[in-house]
Structure formats: C-alpha cells, structure tokens
C-alpha cells in the first residue's frame, strides 16, 4: 500500500516533469525545424548544435522587467497567464501514456502509467481544455489594449466554434470503443486485422481523425489558425502587453496544449502504446514515437501553410468541419448499431 502510493506519486511527478521538458524541447524543435525548412541552421550557438537554447531562452525571459499597462485590470492581468498554464497542465492529468506495469516485479499489483485513471477521462480532458480559453480571453480583455482585445475576442469565437467539431469527432471514437475511459479506449485497439494492419481507430475513423487534427490546431491557436496572435494584424494579439515570466507562461501553455492534443490523438486514434516489435512494458516508447510524429506534423503545418482569413476560418468551421463531423458521427452510430445488433 505504502509503496504503491509512493510509486503513484512518483508517476504523477514524472508526468509533470516531462510536460515541462516537452514545452522546452518543442521550442527548440520548432526553431530547428523552421530553420531546416527555410534552409538555415536555426539556433546553433548555445551548447552543441544549439541544444541548450531553451535554457537560454528561459533565463532571458526571467531576467526581463515585468511590465503592466497603466489601465490594465490588476487582478485579471495576473490571473490570465496562471489560468492558461494551469489548465494546460491539468488537462494532461487523465491521459494514460503506457501499459500497466509492475516495474519489473517491484510491485505486487500492476500500476497504470498516467497521472490519474478515471472512468470519464475523455470528458475531463475536454472539460479542462475548454477552460484554457479563459486565460487568453482574460489576457486580451485585462490588458486594456485594442490589439489584445481583438485577439481575445477572436480566441473566444474561434475556440467555441472548433470545440464543437472536436468534441463530435471524439464522440465517434467513444461510440466505437464503448467507453469514456481513455485506458479502455486504448486497450480496445490492441491486436491487428488480417495479421498485419494494426487495429487502430484511425483506419475506422479516417475522416474523424482529420477533423480532430484540424480542430486541434485551431484549439491550440497554431498557424494556420493563429488568429488570436496574428502578428501581422494585431502586433502579438492577446499577449501584446505581457512581458517576462507572465509572457513566458503563454507559449508554455500553448506547447503543453499541443502535447496534450497529440497524446489524446495517439490514445484515441493511433492505438496509444500498442505497436509491433516491442514488449508491452516498453509500450511507452511507441507512445513517444507517435506523439513525436504528430508534433512534427503540427510544426510542419505551421511553417508551410499561410494563415487563413478570419471569416474563412469561421465559414470553414461552421459550414464544412462541423457538418462533416456530425455526418461522421451519425454514420458511425448507425454502423455500430448495425454490427452490434
């Protein structure tokens, strides 16, 4: 009992630590991949091949002066970045990232890899990510600047619109798996069809996967849907007036949200930690590989596609993505009913 509790606590701490690392590594990966795509090296001076660049970035931001505009709302201005990053970390709490393990016989009963395992896990993630928008909206409003306000307004409209498609795409997978627990969803994807094709839901739900990924990009405010920041029109959007640590928390929240989005996509569509060649105890390696591939796609998209126009974003969200998600859900429900009856 005691040991089990300590191990569980250790897993939670490790998850938290890895999320912080993920946000630092993603900053580096983003700059390196961007450099590669633009035929230059990217950061190269700090450490071997610029590997220590994230540390330098963080130190630089910590040393900066903290500014607050005169007309800003003191409390909400401080609260906004904290809310953003708290929601980002909390959303990962119910994401499982590895099979159940006894740590090579250390424990009598297997323990699950992941901070918490609850029976409505998918919904909890969705609920907490939907709280993330408050950080951005409040930052935009409390800064008392027109650019920030525009960014905040855009964020609220955009995230509400794309949340619908996102949730509808998720619902189709939940119908297939018949469970709201992420661990059960992952475990229902074990095995393979015809001996070679893994039983991942991406093959049953290709349209759902595409909708999920597009809505995911919009939910995390990444290019080509980065309207809340839109530097060519809004200076820097909702975070224009922020500096120092308060500013640093916003990109950190964004990178952690990206990680969560990729982890959930891996769990729901790509079979989580299930994969060939590796024994189940090392499934987390598969998990990392899959997350890495999705994150690379995120960065790839950002540096290859130009930003949409704002009205195009709304049109696309409501007139194409959401109807497609609803049709996908209805067809899935009908097929599940037909094959289960």
């Amino acid at each position: 009992m005691e040991l089990r509790f300590l191990v569980q606590l250790g897993i939670i701490g490790f998850t938290f630590f890895m999320l912080i690392n993920a946000s630092a590594l993603l900053v580096l990966a983003e700059r390196k991949i961007m450099g590669f795509m633009q035929q230059r090296y990217g950061p190269y001076l700090v450490g071997p091949h610029g590997l220590l660049q994230p540390l330098a970035d963080i130190l630089k931001l910590l040393m900066k002066e903290e500014l607050r505009p005169k007309g800003a709302d003191k409390w909400l201005f401080t609260l906004a970045p904290i809310l953003s990053v708290t929601a980002a970390f909390a959303a990962f709490a119910t994401v499982p990232w590895g099979a159940e393990t006894t740590f090579f016989g250390l424990l009598d009963e297997p323990v699950s890899l992941g901070a918490a395992d609850i029976n409505v896990g998918v919904l909890v993630i969705f609920a907490i990510t939907s709280m993330g928008v408050y950080g951005i909206v409040l930052a935009g409003w409390s800064s008392n600047s027109k650019y920030s306000l525009m960014g905040g307004l855009r964020a609220s409209a955009q995230m509400i619109s794309y949340e619908l498609s996102y949730a509808t795409a998720l619902a189709a997978v939940i119908l297939l798996a018949g469970s709201l627990s992420l661990r059960e969803v992952v475990d229902s994807q074990a095995g393979s069809w015809f001996g070679f094709l893994p039983q991942w839901y991406v093959f049953l739900q290709p349209i759902g996967f595409i909708i999920y990924m597009i809505a995911g990009v919009a939910e995390t405010n990444r290019a080509p849907f980065d309207f809340p920041e839109a530097e060519q029109e809004l200076v820097a959007g909702y975070n224009t007036e922020y500096s120092s640590v308060r500013f640093a928390l916003f990109p950190q929240a964004e990178y952690i949200n990206m990680t969560t989005m990729s982890a959930v996509a891996t769990d729901l569509y790509l079979g989580g930690w299930h994969g060939p060649f590796l024994p189940p105890e090392y499934g987390w390696i598969w998990f990392l590989i899959k997350i890495g591939a999705i994150l690379f796609a995120y960065i790839w998209v950002r540096w290859t596609l130009p930003r949409y126009r704002y009205d195009q974003l709304m049109q696309f969200g409501w007139k194409w993505l959401f109807p497609a998600a609803v049709i996908n859900l209805i067809v899935t429900a009908a097929l599940v009913l037909y094959f289960n009856a």
């Binding site: 029976n119 919904l123 609920a127 939907s130 408050y134 409040l138 935009g140 306000l149 949340e163 949730a167």
Partner: protein
C-alpha cells in the same frame, strides 16, 4: 470527516461566489465569480458520485456558455455597470414594479421551501439504494433520459431552439429579408 469538510468548503464557495456575482459592480468579475460557482457545484456533483454530471456541468456551463457571456461583456466593454441602474427615475425602480419583484422573490422562497420539504430520504446517502456503479454510469443516465424523461428532454430542446430562433430574429437587421 474529510468528506464533510469538502462538502462545507465547496458549498461555502458556491454560495459566496454566487453572492459576489450580484454583489459587486464589475461585470467581468461577475462572470469570473459565476465560473467559480459552477466549479464548486461540479465538485459537489463529484461528491455525489456523479462524475459525468460534474464534467458535463464544466463543459457546458463553464466551458461554453460562460465564454459567450465573456464575449458579450467584452464587446460591450463596460468596466462599470451603467449608473442609470441606481437612478430613482429608472423605469425598473418604480414602486409598483419593485413591489411586484418583491412578491416574486417571496414566491420563489416559498416554492423552494415547499419543494425541499417534499423530498423524501434526503438523509440517505446517494448510491445507498440500488447499484451505485450503475447510478453513476453514462449508459444508465442516457437510458433514463431517453425513456422516462424523454418528454422533458425534447421539450427543453424545443425551448432552446425557440430561444435561438428568437435571438436570430432580434439580431437581424431591418434591411435583409
């Protein structure tokens, strides 16, 4: 012991936040307090072994509806409530209207008391009767919603649809038909 403490903490937070929603002048803070109140309610639902209802509360109320509230408050961009509210000549401050409002408030309190007095078995813990596993499950909830309470469910959806159509009608400009 811990359960009682959490219960009092959460209910205290819910009541305090709800009081602050109407208790202070900045509409932005009112919205934030309402979100806090919804969060506390969600915590109480979790204590009642209803995680699905708790999560639905957060997704629908705190995650979607309150974002729209914020959107409206931001668009109005009014840091303080309109001073006209405190004006004696405001149409809502006429004595007749205020008496009518007071009567409605008393009626609400009476109704609530009557409803609370009619509840049986309020001292029986939730999940003590029947299968507590099935009680909290989404499957059971969905089945009950679409069989026993299907009329209330559909009536509510039509009500919301009517409100939506009304909002579209009101927001429409005079020119475009």
């Amino acid at each position: 012991m811990l359960e009682t403490l959490t219960f009092w903490g959460l209910s205290g937070l819910a009541i305090l936040a709800s009081a602050l929603v109407i208790g202070q002048r900045n509409p932005m803070y009112s919205v934030m307090m309402l979100i806090a109140s919804f969060g506390a309610l969600a915590g109480l639902y979790i204590q009642l072994d209803a995680p699905f209802v708790a999560v639905a509360q957060i997704i629908i109320y705190a995650g979607a509806i309150m974002v729209l509230f914020l959107f409206v408050v931001m668009l109005l961009n009014a840091p303080q409530e309109d001073a006209a509210e405190w004006d004696r000549t405001h149409p809502l401050r006429q004595p007749g209207i205020m008496r009518f409002g007071g009567m409605l408030a008393v009626l609400l309190v009476l109704q609530l008391t009557w409803a609370l007095l009619r509840v049986n078995g309020i001292d029986v813990p939730v999940g003590a009767e029947g299968d507590s596993e099935a009680l909290g499950s989404v499957r059971t909830l969905g089945r009950i919603l679409f069989t026993e309470y299907v009329f209330a469910f559909e009536a509510t959806s039509i009500l919301i649809l009517v409100a939506m159509v009304g909002a579209v009608l009101l927001a429409r400009r005079e020119g475009d038909r």
